[in-house]
């Protein structure tokens, strides 16, 4: 087990190294250089040269690379020139926190809906419950998030003005308002994710329900409830954990549109804003942190998986 964890950790570190190298390379391959991007095209040659010197862009590429990696290794994410030399981490991490809050609540709601729905849909395959569940999942699947988001906005903020049309107030400042601002983005994301997870759960349960060991469980004289919710569910839940983890990871990096619609100052929102203000020093760290979150979530998923499935840790 320890070896398994160590191997997974090492794997994660390797991925992070590749990502940080890729970020380094990409930001040096874009047309112009970071100095030109920051200053714009109408900057004076003197300003441009000074910034190049300040950013260390005149150093040989390998020196720049080692400095970049060294800073990352020490957890030094630098200061943002466009944000008045504020620490980049003071911009990125609060934004990450707000994104994680949104993603976690959405996933939680999605799982609460999807697991029972998917199971019932599979157990009662072909009945009206199943048909309704499938209509719901197909709808959730085929509707783009922004349509759902804008639809909710029109309905709940415009036609029936029950909720604020977006924005962000910290929980500590006004908990009620904070929560009311969460409702629409969470509903939007959860509906799509729930559709995906319901379908996954249904397919997984259907497969497991025709397994030999389910027949054995029935032949032993166990109740249908015990067969479905213990023997079958335990097996169907294992791949679901991965699916939930992958969806969560995708949400953290894929919240750009939703955060934009509901003006939620998360990581995706920060990336857009930083691109618009040419704060490349923020963008690169935001990308990196987003990737790191994905890696960490996957690591946690793998560990949960091995804990749930006795066959994995030992092999």
């Amino acid at each position: 087990m320890t070896r398994y964890v160590a191997r997974r950790l090492l794997h994660g570190i390797l991925v992070m190294w590749i990502v940080s190298t890729a970020v380094f390379v990409i930001f040096r391959l874009v047309p112009g250089d970071p100095a030109a991007m920051t200053l714009g095209f109408d900057a004076s040659p003197e300003d441009y040269e000074a910034l190049r010197e300040e950013l260390g862009l005149n150093d040989p590429i390998h020196v720049q690379y080692l400095r970049w990696m060294g800073n990352l290794a020490r957890g030094d994410f630098g200061k943002s020139i466009t944000h008045g030399y504020a620490e980049v981490s003071s911009l990125v991490f609060p934004a990450l926190g707000r994104t994680l809050e949104l993603a976690a609540l959405s996933i939680l709601l999605a799982v609460i809906v999807a697991v029972p729905l998917g199971m019932i849909s599979a157990i009662r395959e072909g009945t009206w419950v199943d048909h309704i569940a499938r209509v719901f999942t197909t709808l959730g699947f085929s509707m783009p998030t922004y349509v759902m988001g804008i639809g909710l906005l029109i309905l709940l903020a415009e036609v029936f003005p029950l909720l604020p049309p977006g924005g962000y107030v910290p929980f500590g400042e006004d908990p009620v308002k904070h929560l009311s601002q969460l409702i629409m983005p969470v509903l939007t994301i959860a509906s799509v994710t729930a559709a995906r997870l319901t379908r996954f759960m249904r397919a997984g349960m259907l497969e497991v329900l025709s397994a030999d060991y389910v027949r054995t469980a029935r032949a032993k004289g166990l109740t249908e409830r015990r067969v479905n919710y213990w023997h079958a569910f335990r097996n169907a839940a294992i791949p679901l954990v991965t699916e939930v983890g992958v969806n969560f990871g995708l949400l953290v990096g894929g919240m750009v549109v939703i955060e934009q619609i509901f003006i939620w100052p998360g990581l995706g929102w920060l990336m857009i804003q930083s691109i618009l203000t040419r704060a490349f020093d923020v963008v690169q760290i935001a990308v990196l942190v987003s990737a790191a979150t994905f890696v960490i979530v996957n690591l946690l998923v793998d560990l949960t998986y091995s804990w749930l499935d006795p066959r994995i840790a030992r092999s």
Binding site: G126, S210, A211, D212, Y213, R215, T216, A217, R218, A219, K220, G221, L222, T223, E224, R226, H231, R234, N235, I238, L308, D309, P310, R311, R314
Partner: protein, 336 residues
């Protein structure tokens, strides 16, 4: 006269597939006495497994559908029973050992837990520690070494043979009156097969249960069965006591099966095999379903038009063939 433990009358089962109907079992009747062992023999798809699964209500419905017949267990017809009513029969009165021990145990639940569950579901008032003690005892009974330790292991930590032993332990847990073993050794190594059969025999002796052994291995049947049913295309084609079936088979299919067993005493240059393929169950040939492969009746018109009924050919010996006498002489002809 003794009242049979189980009487199956005219059982018919079909599967309604989207594009075709498969008549898996067609009017099967047999009975089994207390303490008796019945062998059911036939090729894959001959309806052996579906027959016994139907008795316990274990065929998936849909697509499966029991279209007729009765299955009287101690006088009670099991076929119309609800799942809830069948529950008290399953695993308690009648239990099953399945073909593939690799997939028949739940991979994420400890073996002991699965065993304990079989005890608990029929005796919920008994204490957990009692169930545990009985579970370890059962593992010991089926010859699993270090049962205390094995009790807490997962199926993947067991070998194939051990898993099948654990399945047997589970099946015997509530001392059932009838044990059904569906090809219990087919998925195992030859060296393990004999051990598992011994375990089955011992378990049966220990509890005095009647048993049904489904197999395509005639050798195995001859070792442990009292009577044999030979099935072909969802029908019983021959039934009789073990000695009669082996020494005086009357159905050409049975004869073919026996002739295709390699013999140590007779050195045949070429092993006999029944020509042709088992029938496509969605398109069973008209008349006698065996006629396209039959070495006796073959092309005769009665075989192609009329499906023969089971008829007495000796004491407690029945065969479903228009030409049982010729079949018998065909056998004598071959042996000489």
């Amino acid at each position: 006269m003794q009242v049979p433990l189980l009487t199956v009358e005219n059982l018919s089962v079909r599967f309604n597939m989207p594009d075709q109907v498969i008549n898996a079992v067609n009017g099967v009747s047999f009975s089994l006495n207390t303490g008796e062992t019945l062998g059911i023999v036939g090729e894959s798809g001959s309806g052996k497994t579906v027959t016994v699964l139907s008795i316990l209500g274990l065929i998936p419905k849909p697509p499966g559908e029991i279209t007729g017949g009765r299955a009287l267990f101690e006088g009670q017809d099991l076929l119309p029973l609800s799942t809830e009513a069948l529950r008290s029969i399953r695993g308690q009165e009648i239990s099953m050992v399945f073909q593939d021990p690799m997939t028949s145990l739940n991979p994420v639940i400890k073996v002991g837990e699965q065993l304990r569950e079989a005890l608990w579901t029929h005796n919920p008032s008994d204490s957990r520690s009692n169930h545990r003690r009985r579970g370890v005892e059962l593992l010991d009974m089926v010859g699993i070494p270090q049962p205390e330790r094995r009790y807490n292991q997962f199926p993947h930590e067991y070998s194939g043979g051990m898993r099948q032993r654990a399945m047997i332990a589970m099946a015997m847990a509530n001392r059932p009156k009838l044990l059904i073993a569906d090809e219990p050794t087919t998925a195992l190594d030859v060296t393990i097969q004999a051990q598992v059969i011994e375990t089955l025999k011992a378990a049966r002796q220990e509890t005095g249960a009647a048993s049904i052994l489904i197999t395509h291995d005639l050798g195995l049947v001859s070792q442990i069965a009292d009577r044999v049913i030979v099935m072909y295309a969802g029908r019983i084609v021959e039934e009789g006591r073990i000695g009669d079936i082996f020494s005086r088979p009357r159905h050409p299919y049975t004869i073919g099966l026996l002739a295709s067993i390699p013999s140590i005493t007779q050195r045949r240059t070429k092993l006999y095999s029944i020509p042709g393929q088992p029938p496509d169950m969605a398109n069973v040939p008209p008349g006698c379903p065996f006629h396209p492969r039959c070495a006796v009746g073959g092309e005769r018109s009665v075989c192609r038009s009329d499906s023969p009924r089971l008829a007495e050919v000796g004491t407690r010996h029945q065969a479903a063939c228009h030409f049982t006498e010729e079949a018998a002489s065909w056998l004598t002809g071959r042996a000489t």
